[in-house]
């Protein structure tokens, strides 16, 4: 079974090739079958693979399968080879599983689009590249997947290419992430220079053997890798591209900008966790970046009017949780949250897509409302997703994953009370912006008529994901609940180390859980009171001048776009524009001018009069004679 590992990314890639070459000649039906089918078979294969893998555990925690040698130059031997362990398997399961559901959903969502087969071609390419990213055995191949998903993200954000704004968003996404990618590339150069390999497991071994804890090299490498990670995962300071990336079709947002690609940063750090563990400084920076991002994005999420932008900021914020967890060494918690987040965020995006689809493309929250009766299924699944995102205690999966993070941030030896407080505040914010969105969308009067109801191919993925968003959390139930269940962390600990908890804090687990439950419920209660119970109070609050200013500030994402525009974008364009004619060319033209001027000067002597020439001859001859005679 493990032999067939290569088929899993190969199938979607083959789907891409067929769709790209077939182009418009393929019927919609055929395109849908190829696009969805290839990912579906991959998902089934992954399932079969998972069974085989679990059977081999704990004796064989990892498998390596080389397909061919990519290149082999001067000691740099890079194979197209795949590495399968618990972490990779989790990622693969999410990518193919959620990916399949989103593909299925897209058949309905994109049914009337001109670029139907182009859409599925790009989506298949994305799934293939993402699978390569998570299955790569070496950093070079990982980088291939990494850039590949970036390119697909670009292609899909700008999918509706007619609108220049979409093109701008797409290019922004690509360029901003590429800044991070370049940092990551430099990390690769440094790693190869110092450790002589790019094969991940070898690197980890050699790094552990050659580099001391807290020395400068692992810190530099870790920070450069972090640069790549924050770019891809839209964390501070490179978070600005993700909200704009919502210009793409909604299934794209669900698949790429919620469930899979944006978590690549988390994956990279988890994959190279040994290097990060060598550098306490880098770990703290990861945690701080995560905490700062989750708060920042949380506040921004409060003020958005576009339903997809709320979700985008919530994605940024939830990935902030993952980074926070990584930073405190809570590897299993971060992975668990990644998985649960993929379920509920894909669900929320798809449900939002169903709403947008139903309202003929309306994305403004303030033009929605009253959809509870019109779209009962969407209402229910959206509620499930929102509850899971807000981590409503006990009944949602989001509670178990987020609680695990908050608790471990508090109790880990790398954690701290301040980070914990940030995480808790983030939980409160999450709950507030989530239910604000939910109430705006489904409660109140109907503001826009419903045009389409979702068909079966849209409803089925919604239902499946809703169930997953609620029950997947039972894979991991905390100790304080009568011993609990630790299926997931046992599984993932075959690849990632367990969290180092401070013994002194371990007894406080139940208190910590109560606090996070209170944050989630408190946020829900607050929104309910301000929006449904006494709307006047809510309205009064939003009319405060301070609130209005803050809201405008947060709506624009804390002014980061403005700042980067001022610091990088505009100077670059300015420099390029003023130098369009190429100043160096001007220098050479100057040389040519100089030649012409000399020519004019010499030409002036050529009067065309014989007598002038004769005079010149005479004077010259006289001068020569004088020189000969007297000198």
């Amino acid at each position: 079974m493990i032999q067939l590992l290569w088929l899993i990314p190969a199938l979607p890639l083959a789907g891409f090739v067929i769709l790209a070459l077939g182009g418009a000649r393929l019927s919609r039906r055929a395109a849908a079958w190829i696009g969805v089918g290839s990912v579906g078979i991959s998902a089934l294969l992954t399932l079969a693979l998972a069974v085989a893998f679990l059977r081999g555990l704990p004796a064989i925690p990892a498998h390596i399968r080389q397909v061919w040698t990519w290149f082999d130059v001067a000691g740099l031997n890079i194979g197209v080879s795949f590495y399968l362990d618990a972490l990779a398997l989790t990622m693969m399961a999410v990518i193919t599983g959620v990916g399949f559901l989103i593909h299925l959903y897209s058949v309905g969502y994109m049914a009337h689009d001109d670029g139907f087969s182009r859409f599925f071609a790009y989506m298949n390419l994305f799934v293939g590249a993402m699978l390569i990213l998570v299955m790569a055995d070496n950093l070079m191949l990982l980088y291939l997947g990494w850039e590949g998903v970036g390119a697909c993200s670009y292609l899909l954000i700008g999918f509706w290419y007619r609108d220049p704004a979409n093109g701008y968003a797409a290019r922004k996404a690509f360029v901003v992430t590429r800044v991070g990618d370049t940092a990551m590339a430099v990390a690769l150069f440094l790693l190869f220079d110092r450790l002589g390999s790019l094969q991940i497991q070898e690197l980890m071994q050699r790094a552990g053997a050659q580099w001391g804890v807290g020395t400068i090299l692992p810190t530099v490498v870790a920070l450069l890798l972090l640069g790549g990670a924050v770019g891809k995962s839209a964390q501070l300071p490179l978070q600005t591209w993700l909200p704009d990336a919502m210009a793409g079709p909604t299934p794209v947002s669900a698949l790429i900008h919620a469930a899979t690609m944006v978590t690549a940063g988390f994956y990279l750090i988890a994959r190279t966790h040994l290097i990060f563990e060598l550098s306490p400084l880098a770990m703290s920076i990861v945690a701080i970046v995560g905490a700062a991002t989750l708060l920042l994005a949380g506040f921004s999420g409060l003020c958005q009017t576009d339903i997809k932008r709320v979700l985008a900021y919530s994605t940024v914020s939830q990935i902030g949780y993952m980074f926070l967890a990584l930073g405190v060494g809570a590897w299993a918690a971060a992975t668990f949250h990644f998985m649960i987040h993929a379920f509920f965020k894909a669900l929320l995006f798809l449900a939002a897509g169903a709403v947008i689809h139903a309202l003929s493309g309306e994305q403004d929250l303030f033009k929605m409302g009253g959809l509870r009766r019109e779209l009962p299924l969407v209402y229910l699944v959206f509620l499930a997703g929102a509850a899971s995102l807000s981590a409503i205690p006990l009944v949602t999966a989001g509670f178990y994953s987020k609680d695990m993070i908050i608790w471990e941030v508090f109790a880990s030896n790398r954690g701290g009370t301040l980070l914990w407080a940030a995480a808790l505040a983030g939980a409160l914010l999450t709950s507030i912006y989530t239910f604000r969105m939910f109430f705006l969308c489904f409660e109140g009067p109907l503001r826009t008529p419903v045009a389409h109801k979702p068909g079966w191919n849209m409803s089925l993925p919604l239902a499946v994901l809703a169930v997953l968003s609620l029950v997947a959390g039972f894979l991991e139930i905390p100790h304080s609940f009568g011993g609990g269940v630790q299926i997931f962390s046992h599984f993932i600990q075959s690849a990632l180390p367990a969290t180092q908890l401070l013994p002194a804090r371990e007894s406080n687990e139940i208190l910590c859980q109560l606090a996070s439950a209170a944050a989630a419920l408190g946020g829900l209660g607050l929104v309910w009171w301000l929006m449904l119970r006494s709307p006047q109070a809510g309205a009064a609050l939003t009319r405060q001048p301070l609130a209005m200013k803050l809201s405008r500030f947060w709506l624009n994402g804390w002014g980061f776009d403005w700042l980067y525009g001022l610091l990088f974008e505009r100077p670059y364009i300015f420099l390029a524009q003023i130098n369009r004619a190429d100043i160096v060319d001007g220098c050479f033209t100057l040389l040519a001018r100089f030649g012409l001027a000399l020519n004019a000067l010499a030409g002036a002597a050529q009067t065309g009069r014989v007598r002038t020439y004769a005079a010149g001859l005479t004077v010259g001859a006289a001068a020569i004679i004088a020189w000969v005679v007297w000198l």
Partner: protein, 520 residues
């Protein structure tokens, strides 16, 4: 003998095309196509098996060699030879030559025969440059490829062609003369030291030179190759020449002529003047990095699509120069891959611009936009090559750039980081092309046709080659490995004055292996 035939076939094809093309334009096209195809097949049949065969470790560097006496009194011989590096470049030349013929199929209507004559002679000159081992002969081919190129630009170019052609000619000619001076200087110095006056590459290798003299001579060679490459401050002829040349001219310029500069740096500058090159390396690398960034920034601001693509060449070839002066195996292999892939991707972009110009009669980006709807297949190819040009992994350019950077990093970490910044700039201009030409709203109403079969095949072959090099470049790496290893061995530091260092050099003409190949 096969090397002579390889060069003679395009020469003869060119003459035939020129003569028959006076009556019948179609004949000129078909003859050129047939000649190049024949040449490509010959190269594949003759050179590829030799180049891929595992080499005996004691063998000399040359896979095929041919030496005929020419002007013996001056020590000039007709010396052609090819190693793995040359073979790869010969194949690239013929492939892009075919693309050039294909893309001028319907573009050239006037004096078709003479056009193909010039095109074929440029290609023959380039083949000669890639194989000549006698410096005099090398210079001969160097000039041979330039003159027809001048005619291609000045006769079949666009609006501002006379200016561009003369600029091109002046820059390359002046730099070429500097090289000629350096060649003659080296000839006399070597002759005085050894008593053997010879223009032969293998004889001249390892000539002991005083530091100052070596630097002067090296700079003479460097000037010629830096202008051709083009390196940063002397790149200014390139945007004009590229922009004004007919499509085939741009393809050959970008895809091949620039590569002769890179080849010259690899084959001559560093091996002939190892110490001077080492002393000069920091400056050259700084220039290279400046070119990478400068070209990328300028490319972004252009409004003429062809000019934009031209500036990307400055950026991409900067990587090659960076690699050559780092002179380690990783970087050199990267440089070779980059040379090939830049030829393919930029050549393809020029072909695309040519197709657009043929249909729209403009290259102005400000007038394009929204073309995807009209020409989705052309748009798809443009997207593909733009992504290749920005260095997307999985396509060849990435392998080249990555190997170069990873190879240069240990020697110049800071410069590498700056050069890596060029990757960001590359993504800005590449995506800008796609956005301005194919995405967005149509600014004017265009009714243009999508790719026909000939065009699709041309672009398809180039795309497939890039994909192959991106996913499995190992055959090329394998082929070039012995050649690069030999070149790197030459650079064994020798003390000055080195008495018998010339005798022990690998490229001895008496090498039985080489003779054997020459006979076969």
């Amino acid at each position: 003998m096969m090397l002579i035939i390889l060069i003679a076939v395009p020469l003869a094809g060119g003459i035939l095309a020129g003569i028959l093309g006076r009556r019948n334009a179609g004949a000129a096209r078909w003859i050129s196509l047939a000649a190049l195809l024949l040449d490509l097949i010959l190269a594949l049949v003759w050179l590829l098996p030799v180049a891929t065969r595992p080499l005996a470790p004691t063998a000399g560097p040359w896979l095929v060699e041919l030496r005929l006496p020419w002007i013996s009194t001056l020590g000039i011989s007709f010396h052609l030879a090819a190693d793995g590096l040359s073979v790869v470049l010969i194949l690239l030349t013929l492939l892009l030559g075919l693309a050039a013929v294909a893309c001028s199929w319907s573009e050239i209507h006037e004096r078709t025969g003479f056009f193909f004559f010039n095109l074929m002679w440029v290609l023959a000159g380039i083949l000669g440059v890639f194989t000549a081992l006698d410096l005099f002969l090398f210079y001969f081919f160097w000039e041979l490829m330039m003159v027809p190129m001048f005619f291609l630009i000045i006769l079949w170019g666009h609006e501002n062609r006379v200016y561009a052609a003369i600029k091109f000619f002046l820059f390359t000619q002046i730099a070429g003369l500097l090289m000629l001076a350096a060649i003659i200087g080296l000839y006399f110095i070597h002759g005085q030291i050894s008593g053997n006056y010879s223009f032969d590459y293998s004889a001249l290798l390892g000539t002991p030179l005083a530091a100052g003299t070596g630097m002067f001579l090296m700079l003479g060679f460097f000037a010629a190759f830096a202008v051709k490459l083009p390196a940063f401050p002397v790149h200014v002829w390139l945007p004009d020449a590229h922009t004004e040349a007919p499509t085939a001219g741009s393809v050959v310029l970008a895809g091949l002529l620039l590569k002769t500069g890179a080849y010259g740096l690899l084959r001559f500058v560093v091996p002939l003047f190892p110490e001077a090159a080492r002393a000069f390396a920091p400056w050259a690398m700084a220039l290279a990095v400046a070119g990478i960034i400068y070209g990328a920034v300028l490319a972004f601001s252009q409004t003429d699509l062809k000019r934009l693509v031209a500036y990307t060449s400055v950026s991409h070839m900067g990587f090659v120069m960076l690699a050559v002066f780092a002179w380690n195996e990783m970087a050199l292999q990267g440089a070779l891959i980059q040379i090939i892939c830049h030829g393919l991707s930029t050549g393809a972009l020029f072909v695309i611009v040519g197709m657009l110009q043929e249909r729209m009669h403009t290259r102005d980006l400000r007038r394009m936009g929204g073309l995807w709807k009209e020409v989705p297949r052309l748009g798809g190819f443009a997207m593909f090559f733009a992504l290749a040009s920005l260095g997307l992994p999985g396509l060849g350019n990435f392998v080249g750039e990555f190997l170069i950077l990873i190879g240069v990093f240990p020697q110049a970490p800071l410069l590498t980081v700056v050069a890596a910044g060029g990757l960001v700039a590359a993504s800005i201009y590449s995506l800008w092309i796609v956005q301005q030409a194919f995405h967005g709203q149509a600014r004017e109403t265009w009714r243009i046709s999508d790719l026909n079969g000939r065009e699709a095949v041309t672009l398809g072959v180039l795309a497939a080659a890039l994909l192959w090099l991106g996913l499995y470049p190992q055959p090329v790496i394998q082929m070039a490995r012995p050649a690069l290893a030999h070149m790197r061995q030459i650079q064994v530091p020798h003390s000055f004055p080195a008495p018998e260092s010339t005798a022990s050099l690998p490229a001895a003409p008496a090498d039985p292996q080489g003779e054997m190949h020459a006979i076969r």
